[in-house]
Symmetry: C2
Subunit: 632 residues, 2 copies
């Protein structure tokens, strides 16, 4: 899986679609709510109240009100008009899905405002209704300032008025939540809480408000399934210097989880969170010198509940702790990736045989078979994202997902790109391999080899500790071999492929985890890579309408031991944990250096050594792995 | 030569020094001027009125008033105190040179303000005298804003009061100025002026005010020698849509130069420049819709003469035209570098023989011999910067310059680093080579090889047009081989060596030319590399107290023809013009890829082919070149 560039910020989670919803009735109902609440407009962003990347269906408010169900977009409904703002990836889908009540605003085209610019420039003296739980405090601050010149203002409504007109809105998921044993987590929740407190003391803060779902899950060693692919559950938490409160529907918690949390954690209802926040300024004696800390993605509602000058927005303490995996978590990454490698070998061997036998399989049938093999693995808990199983031109569509019953057949004479991953109790996997089951063209081999050289450049990188240079520059290291052949697109934000070279990965948590990443975006520059971080290494090349190539491993950041060690901080490098052959048939060996050939042979020998013991009962996969991992 | 990182912004031009000047008398005289002009302080920056990198001695006001003659620093004299602000490179020298009347402000240390912060935070209700010709309009604007909270203000004095107390101030140089034939310049001044006007029309501006000395020289195809190493002369110019005025001391101009300029250029005295500017708003009917353009380095005095809302500060049109060399200039670069390569071969062959013969030579004697060989070359017009001839530990001092009569002996068993260049009518050279005339250690060879690999990475780079990614990232491409061995420093602004990987180079003009460069500084990000630009490729590694290694070629940016050409803009690469062997004895071939070995052999074959014909009369150099360019 890959993290999109800023213009491609969220994964497409709901599949494409071309059916149109008649929104006349729901828009009319919403406008009655505008009038009731004496506002002139209402903003419906894509986010949920935890700033999640993937949404539960009850939180797909923008899709409901507009009919457009792409992953990125913002709807603004005024007394007379309705606007849907989205970016270039979704113009076609939005045109197909929006009915005549909506005006599509194609963000990125000349003279088309962003939704924020629209509010500040096209409206005057407007009261703009928002749900303060769905906009971050810092974004709201920026927006409020930009509205001032035309005397407009944001108005936080007491209820989300989309919810009030959404008759058959699904219930919020409330699936069971279990305790992740310390043998997988490596650290008790008490130890983690103590570390949070140490940071609070260092920074002279009185509390940290935990708003992101994966942060709550990590902090308490709890896992759930309220959002597809992400083992999280709806909850908030507050850590003060002497108290910890977890806000969750008590009914979701396994008894064993409650027991493990013990007396030190006060469990309160999910809905009691904001009332509790409002008591904090008094109980903690918050002041402008002594504030509560909230993360950069915490909502305006959180900030408002604490009150002006009682909070500070800064890096999330929990995110910064969570991103450095402990030894047990790192070993879990290694072990889960070995098992995952066995499922991949079984799948690719099976697929090759099917295609050689002339069986007609579509992309979903491929994905299903891979999921079947994964589901048989120890400690398997589900997929970590929807499998991208793509044949030929579909591989060049960055956010492609096959639609069941309406997807392409996997063709033997086309490149097949498969990006997939799983959740295990001991780790999260995310791997892309690119295959050709017939005879690849020279062009395809050359492009694959260039991507592979970029992949190796990152894998073998050694770089000084403490600089953020690597997080930016290594992106170009991965692209350099492609540029050498004139491969790569060139728009400023998307100059080779529309995704960064790497994203952080959670430990049995979200497959996309911040703040670490490898890419050119400015946002990545504030987080240097540190030992214990986990990131993907996934350069790619995409020939529109023809094929896509991506080679993705998960790598762990670790200290390196170069021959010298000048400077005062040492050096870092990577350890790959993903173990699945890179397709030798697609390699043009004439382009490789001796060191690159050695890397490939070493990688394959390691893959054979670690994965083959798990394939005793699948002779087809074993034979396939032997062939695919033999030396160049 | 190398461009310093922002903390090391100017070349050290005046040599080190430890003698102290008694400044009591001149400070007293200056304070009388403070009182006469009713100001509380006076700021003495390092710059001249053209924002030149190198200064004429008459402009070394800060060195005069403070006694500190390092290249970077700012003096502030108040009614009771005198402060000298400089950075870490100069703390020692400043401590030695400043007398007891001065307080040294060590910028960069904790709690030490910059001189701007000092003015805005430590003074209150102060009238701060400045010479408006010595501060840029944009810097002055920033400074004025920062002074407001404490009610201080900048006061432009009618005369520079340092000049008034500087009794034996040298006269401003007024050396003769000659016309550079179009056979070298490639384009007449009329054509250049027309191009400036085209840009003015495109940008809807009525005039461009040319304030940088190299820009004036380029625009009129004139060259002079008012500043050491830079073939420029003191002048300003103004180009309007129908008039061109050159402000220069008429006496400096060769008759032939006056004839070539012809009727189309109005020649006015240098001192008439500001009066002329003051007439422009009327004669050109400047208004807030119709402004004159001034470059980002134009002084506050220029802005004030035009008047508020009558000018706009933006990129210099002339700098942007000048940086793209025409075909004749590019060919001149090639030819001048072949000749330069002959002088280098003669020098290095001579030096090797001298050292083998046991002759004791110091670093200056080496530099002198190289200058002698260069001075015998066709079209030679002088050096392009003071030769850095450095033995052993001196090579690790980034801004090292040997002091005549007080410099180290060149030792046969130490690394010798030589960074030098010349001005020719047809081009400017700048080359660094690193040698060992005895037996290098494995460590030295390994470091040299890593630097060479970085050099090759840049030389062979191919990158998409129109992105600025290369200008930043390629810097890390050059450092990657060093990091692989743990070589490289790591401070945020200076993470491997205290200079960028490359600077722009003028055509028979300043050896440091903006705006193009290769480096990590943000400032470089606004100028993508374009065909026709000339930059240096000079990665280095510095082992403090032991040795320095740098390998520098000048490269021309040109279109590349990779096998594919995806995307809409094409690809760029480099053509090296510097031709001097890289020292095979210092190469650890076991570290090299096959492609790198091929690069070295190809480069040496080209060097032999192009340079050897010029060495017919120097058998020693010819034999040396044959040996040094033979295949690995």
């Amino acid at each position: 899986a890959f993290l999109r560039s800023p213009r491609c910020s969220a994964l497409h989670t709901m599949g494409g679609g071309s059916h149109t919803v008649n929104t006349a009735e729901r828009l009319q109902a919403l406008r009655e709510q505008l009038s009731k609440n004496t506002v002139n407009a209402f903003v419906v962003p894509s986010e949920d109240q935890h700033s999640s990347e993937y949404l539960a269906s009850c939180d797909e408010r923008r899709a409901f009100i507009s009919g457009f169900n792409g992953s990125a977009g913002c709807a603004i409904v005024t007394e007379t008009d309705a606007f849907l703002f989205t970016d270039g990836r979704y113009f076609l889908q939005a045109e197909q899905q929006l009915d005549k009540n909506w005006t599509l605003m194609k963000q990125g085209l000349p003279d088309v405002p962003t939704w924020q610019e629209f509010l500040s420039k096209r409206l005057e003296k407007a009261k703009i209704g928002i749900d303060a739980t769905l906009i971050s405090a810092s974004d709201a601050e920026t927006l409020t300032k930009s509205l001032a010149p035309k005397e407009s203002e944001l108005v936080s409504l007491p209820h989300n008025i989309v919810d009030q007109v959404w008759k058959d809105r699904p219930a919020r998921p409330a699936n069971s939540v279990f305790h992740l044993d310390v043998k997988y987590a490596g650290q008790s929740h008490q130890e983690k809480i103590e570390k949070v407190r140490e940071e609070l003391k260092k920074e002279k803060r009185k509390a940290f408000v935990v708003t992101m779902l994966d942060e709550v899950a990590w902090l308490f060693n709890l896992r759930g399934s309220d959002i597809d692919f992400n083992p999280v559950f709806f909850a908030y938490a507050v850590v003060t210097l002497d108290k910890v409160t977890l806000f969750i529907n008590r009914a979701q918690l396994h008894d064993e989880a409650v027991n493990t949390l013990g007396d030190t954690v006060d469990i309160q209802p999910y809905d009691a969170f904001f009332d509790y926040l409002r008591t904090l300024p008094d109980t903690l004696e918050l002041s402008s010198d002594s504030k509560a800390l909230i993360g950069k993605k915490a909502s305006l509602a959180v900030a408002d509940a604490l009150g002006k000058d009682r909070y500070i927005i800064d890096r999330s303490i929990v995110a910064d702790l969570k991103t450095i995996k402990n030894g047990v978590e790192l070993e879990g990454f290694r072990q889960s990736h070995i098992r995952d490698g066995a499922a991949l070998a079984r799948y690719f061997a099976w697929l090759e045989e099917q295609l050689n036998d002339g069986v007609v399989l579509d992309e979903c049938q491929g994905a299903d078979q891979l999921e079947k093999y994964r589901s048989e693995l120890d400690l398997f808990k589900g997929l970590s994202f929807p499998t991208i199983s793509s044949s030929g031109p579909n591989g060049a569509i960055i956010h492609y997902q096959p639609t069941r019953g309406d997807c392409a057949v996997i063709k033997k004479d086309q490149i097949y790109l498969c990006d997939s991953g799983a959740q295990f109790l001991d780790g999260t996997t995310d791997v892309t391999r690119t295959w050709h089951f017939g005879t690849p063209t020279d062009e395809e081999k050359r492009a694959f080899t260039r991507v592979l050289q970029g992949h190796i450049a990152i894998d073998a990188a050694i770089f000084p500790t403490g600089t953020t240079v690597l997080t930016r520059s290594s992106d170009s290291w991965a692209r350099r071999p492609l540029w050498q052949d004139g491969l790569g697109k060139q728009s400023p934000s998307c100059f080779s492929s529309c995704h960064g070279t790497g994203h952080g990965v959670g430990h049995f948590l979200n497959v996309h985890e911040g703040p670490q990443a490898i890419g050119i975006q400015i946002a990545y520059n504030s987080t240097p890579l540190k030992p214990g971080m986990t990131v993907s290494n996934e350069p790619g090349f995409y020939a529109d309408g023809r094929f896509g190539i991506r080679i993705e491993n998960i790598v762990l950041v670790r200290e390196a031991s170069p021959p010298n060690n000048f400077g005062n901080k040492g050096y870092l490098g990577f350890e790959h944990v993903t173990l699945s052959p890179v397709h030798k048939k697609l390699i043009d060996t004439s382009l490789l250096t001796g060191q690159e050939k050695q890397w490939i042979n070493d990688y394959h020998a390691e893959t054979w050594e670690k994965v083959s013991p798990l394939l005793k009962n699948d002779p087809r996969a074993l034979e396939w792995l032997k062939r695919e991992t033999s030396p160049l």
